[in-house]
């Protein structure tokens, strides 16, 4: 199976796909109806968050679909009450670094699982997966003590360190590497490529779709992380945006307006990351020759 074959087949596939689209014309109205309903279900709470962030303080509990009076007061208040820009920057730095590092360690480890059989490989694979089952609250204080010994309290480094590797990245990548055609690896090996080059020059480019999806997922889970920063951050300037958001949820009730404004501000960067990386997913699918 080579690139040329598929490139040659591509126009035919496109043609076919178009025809298939017409073929299900009857279903497509129903399909779109379902999709629109589902979209409403997905979007409405988010829409509500944005609309509420724009309502003035005494109209917060109104149920009109569109705010009767628009106000940016909540944004002004949120920006004033917490250093949210600084927090967003911190979170961005942490999320980008963690995403890159987790992808690296994930690719390396997944490659080892997919490429070789070695003693205890299944045991180690299971060991990686089982880290999912360790509740964070249990390892939290020992980790905190370790960070304290390293002298890294209240620093961004400490927020990144425990996330150098994740089970999700390793397992997801190993799983897609395993379904990678062996013939291609063997062909590269016959060309004299070493395992290091096979990983970066053959495997990785062809896993772009998976890598991009994974990058989105890692980025989001790091962005939304809460418990570890809560324990670690002592000053608002070294804190992340999730802590900032929670500062509006108090034991005297939630400050709804600023809470919604802060979460709207915190959500936008992720949406941008998603759109950029999603395009990458689509393009890699369009371009990739070999599965």
């Amino acid at each position: 199976m080579t690139t040329e074959v598929i490139e040659a087949a591509r126009p035919a596939v496109r043609r076919l796909r178009r025809k298939a689209g017409e073929g299900i014309g009857l279903n497509s109205a129903a399909g779109h109806l379902v999709m629109v309903l589902l979209s409403l279900f997905c979007l409405f709470p988010v829409y509500w968050m944005v609309v509420t962030s724009l309502r003035p303080a005494n109209a917060i509990f109104e149920t009109s679909l569109w705010p009767t009076a628009l106000s940016l007061d909540n944004y002004a208040y949120a920006l004033n009450a917490i250093p949210i820009v600084r927090m967003l920057l911190n979170t961005l730095v942490i999320s980008v670094v963690v995403t890159v590092i987790q992808l690296m360690t994930g690719l390396l480890a997944a490659y080892a699982f997919a490429r070789w059989r070695f003693p205890f490989d299944k045991l180690i694979y299971a060991g990686v997966a089982l880290t999912w089952l360790v509740p964070f609250q249990v390892v939290m204080i020992p980790n905190y003590l370790l960070v304290a010994q390293l002298g890294l309290l209240d620093s961004l480094t400490a927020l990144i360190l425990p996330h150098f590797a994740s089970a999700l990245a390793i397992l997801l990548l190993a799983q897609s590497m395993r379904s990678f055609p062996r013939e291609v690896i063997e062909a590269a090996r016959m060309d004299g490529a070493r395992s290091w080059r096979i990983l970066w020059e053959v495997m990785t480019p062809n896993l772009r779709g998976t890598i991009a999806s994974l990058a989105i997922l890692i980025f989001i889970s790091t962005w939304n992380e809460y418990f570890w920063p809560l324990l670690l951050s002592r000053t608002a300037e070294n804190s992340v945006v999730q802590i900032g958001i929670q500062m509006f949820m108090t034991s005297e009730g939630n400050a709804w307006g600023p809470l919604m404004a802060a979460s709207t501000m915190a959500s936008l960067p992720i949406l941008v990351v998603y759109i950029v990386l999603q395009r990458q997913v689509v393009q890699s699918f369009m371009k990739s020759g070999i599965r």
């Binding site: 589902l38 490989d121 949406l271 890699s284």
Partner: protein, 311 residues
């Protein structure tokens, strides 16, 4: 090196590429990941196993008092334990359609749409993912409130009685499941779409040339090739369903009403992880780890069988 590996390749089948032979390379590749997981997770976990037999407040100045199995006995004797276990099963059952079936249908359906509508739909389905869990929970609670919530305003407008989504013990668990699923659909759709996009178009085309219908292509080509991703998601849902719903239980119901939404993870958190006694918290962790570990072991066996089939 190349020749050497070539000859070995000829000597053995591809799949059984050499066990029982200590090589350095795989360990080098694994080192960064294993090191991280051992330092930050397994080392403290080992310590937790030991501490689960002690009563201690974690302060270096106070003594660790050996209490044997007492911490375990107390947790297993919690009145809500069996209720929580049953609820955990309900969570998994309820989440499977939302975390696997619906996203699978979405991934396959949107795949054949024109690029523009495909991207728009997928982006919309993804949007719930970007909202912080606590905020998502707070907004949902607001929308579902019997007094001033939008959803109940709609329900009463249609002439029905308002539904107490979060305070009726029969309804509450399904409410929490749907909200957890709402956050998850985007995640699973993303993974399945990527896997679906990885499927070689020439395979689909070959099937089409053979006169396969659209449904047959899905059944005979796409689903088998997606099976490992599907199993992966099923495994995640079973193992992590209880954890995924944690934030929503915590913000929305606190495990109530009357324990109706408590699952095993929340119960262990409530009495163990969130307490200051290391013994309770460690014993809870060990119970969770061993319990779900056993399930994971079984699932791995299952997946192993399927991937052999795939090869």
């Amino acid at each position: 090196m190349a020749e050497l590996s070539m000859s070995r390749r000829e000597a053995s089948t591809l799949r059984l590429r050499r066990a029982g032979n200590w090589r350095v390379s795989p360990w080098l590749y694994l080192a960064p990941a294993i090191l991280t997981l051992v330092v930050w997770i397994y080392w403290p976990l080992l310590d937790a196993v030991r501490l689960s037999f002690f009563q201690w407040n974690m302060l270096p100045t106070s003594p660790q008092k050996f209490v044997g199995w007492e911490n375990y006995a107390r947790i297993l004797a919690l009145p809500k334990f069996w209720q929580a276990l049953r609820n955990t099963g309900l969570y998994v059952l309820g989440l499977l359609p939302l975390a696997v079936l619906v996203p699978l249908a979405l991934a396959i359906y949107t795949h054949d749409l024109p690029a523009r509508s495909r991207n728009i739909y997928r982006a919309i389905i993804f949007v719930p993912m970007i909202i912080a869990p606590v905020v998502a929970a707070a907004v949902w609670r607001w929308l579902l409130d019997p007094g001033y919530g939008m959803v109940n305003t709609g329900i009463t407008w249609l002439g029905f009685d308002p539904v107490k989504f979060l305070t009726d013990p029969k309804v509450a668990i399904w409410t929490v499941i749907v909200i957890t699923g709402w956050k998850l659909i985007g995640f699973s759709t993303l993974i399945l779409s990527a896997a679906n996009a990885n499927i070689n178009p020439s395979l689909v085309e070959a099937a089409r040339m053979d006169g396969a219908s659209k449904w047959e292509i899905i059944r005979d080509v796409r689903l088998p090739l997606l099976s490992s991703s599907i199993l992966f998601l099923v495994m995640m849902t079973i193992l992590l369903g209880a954890q995924w719903s944690f934030t929503y239980i915590n913000v929305l119901t606190g495990g109530g009403p009357l324990g109706a939404t408590t699952n095993i993870y929340y119960l262990l958190w409530d009495f163990g992880f969130s307490s200051m006694s290391v013994g309770w918290s460690s014993a809870s962790a060990v119970i969770l780890f061993l319990g779900f570990g056993a399930i994971a072991f079984f699932l791995f066996k299952l997946i192993d069988r399927y991937s052999f089939h795939d090869n």
